[in-house]
């Protein structure tokens, strides 16, 4: 079993209370699926270590690619969620600007039905949605540049609100 992480665009789509009624009927709300945007039927996730020491680095690597440094939300779930849904997982090197993160990247191989099952599984068995606040993200990006984990080009984003 491994812990998987998926960054999401809006944390409120993953509130468990809002999903409870759907889950009670063995269904999933539709809104979270907006955060599971597939490309060629594949969805990016990352493997996080048991001690979660690589979690912030992964979220930072994904978030820093956006227009500006902002709060970043993510969900963490056990790989049993994808096993139970019959979802395939493949090791595919990621494309973030932090090369150290890219080896933790995985592709989930999905169909429409499996996508809905994934959303349901995350909401039912995954952890509550979490966030790295922007203030912390700025620190992480700054440190990442100093440590050589992120390219210098991201310095510009540190000054952009």
């Amino acid at each position: 079993m491994a812990l998987l992480l998926r960054t999401v665009d809006k944390d409120y789509r993953w509130f468990k209370e809002a999903a409870a009624e759907f889950l009670a009927h063995d269904d999933s709300p539709a809104d979270p699926i907006a955060d599971l945007k597939t490309d060629k039927n594949r969805l990016s996730v990352y493997v996080i270590s048991d001690d979660r020491s690589n979690l912030e680095r992964i979220v930072r690597a994904v978030a820093v690619g956006r227009h500006r440094i902002d709060h970043a939300a993510y969900v963490v779930f056990d790989s049993k969620v994808i096993e139970e849904a019959g979802i395939g997982i493949e090791e595919v090197v990621g494309t973030t600007k932090d090369a150290g993160v890219n080896n933790w990247h995985r592709d989930l191989v999905l169909s429409g039905k499996k996508l809905a099952a994934l959303a349901k599984g995350i909401l039912r068995d995954g952890e509550e949605v979490s966030r790295i606040l922007r203030d912390r993200m700025v620190q992480l990006v700054d440190q990442g540049i100093k440590d050589g984990e992120l390219p210098e080009e991201f310095k510009e984003k540190l000054t952009k609100k």
Partner: protein, 217 residues
């Protein structure tokens, strides 16, 4: 040193050297009442800001009275229409954290061009209940990001009011907006909102923001 007025949870003066220049009848508080009046006019009594806005004092953030004119007292119909259209159009967009949008760029332009009148118009529209929660949530986060002392109190009050919105999405936006402002004086407001917050994820988020604000002291 108390940073928050215990009665109102409103920001106290930034520095002691600013004290003594205002009263409850100052132009600043007059403007605040005008803003409140505009909101009430737009929304009815149920939509008004339920707190002591008239207790704002001119020295709180200094430039309110200096930078405003009585032309700001009422929102022009054209601006109200512009704001309404902006939010209606925004409902067709898909928002992503960290990403600008047509909505965010247009919102910032309106705020830049119209200042206090724009905040009044936006508050009126948001409090009318016509706005979609996703759009409102997005708007609050961008509104919190502008660096404009003249509209600080208006924006602060809009956020504070939004912490008690019936939509969890709006409350989420308001909490994150206070994180953006990074002003420790929001801690008490957030702590109070937490006692009423029914969504576990938002209680966790409030705790996280309060911890951030403690480090910002």
């Amino acid at each position: 040193m108390g940073l928050i007025n215990a009665a109102t949870n409103l920001p106290e003066p930034v520095s002691s050297t600013d004290k003594g220049t205002g009263t409850n009848t100052s132009p600043g508080s007059f403007m605040a009442r005008i803003v409140l009046g505009a909101v009430m006019a737009a929304t009815g009594p149920e939509g008004c800001l339920p707190f002591g806005i008239s207790r704002f004092r001119r020295w709180d953030y200094g430039t309110t009275a200096q930078s405003s004119t009585l032309a700001d007292e009422k929102v022009s119909p054209a601006l109200s229409q512009e704001v309404r259209e902006l939010f209606d159009d925004g409902a067709r967009e898909f928002f992503q954290d960290g990403m600008e949008s047509i909505f965010s760029r247009s919102l910032l332009k309106i705020l830049h061009d119209h200042g206090q009148e724009a905040v009044t118009a936006i508050a009126g529209y948001l409090l009318s209940g016509s706005a979609k929660p996703d759009v409102t949530s997005e708007a609050l986060r961008w509104i919190s990001d502008i660096d404009d002392r003249a509209t600080f109190l208006q924006r602060w009050d809009l956020l504070r009011h939004s912490l008690h919105n019936e939509s969890a999405r709006v409350r989420d936006g308001a909490i994150l907006a206070f994180a953006n402002m990074n002003d420790p004086r929001a801690s008490k407001i957030l702590a109070e909102a937490r006692t009423l917050e029914p969504v576990a994820e938002l209680r966790k988020l409030i705790d996280q923001v309060i911890r951030q604000l403690e480090h910002a002291r």
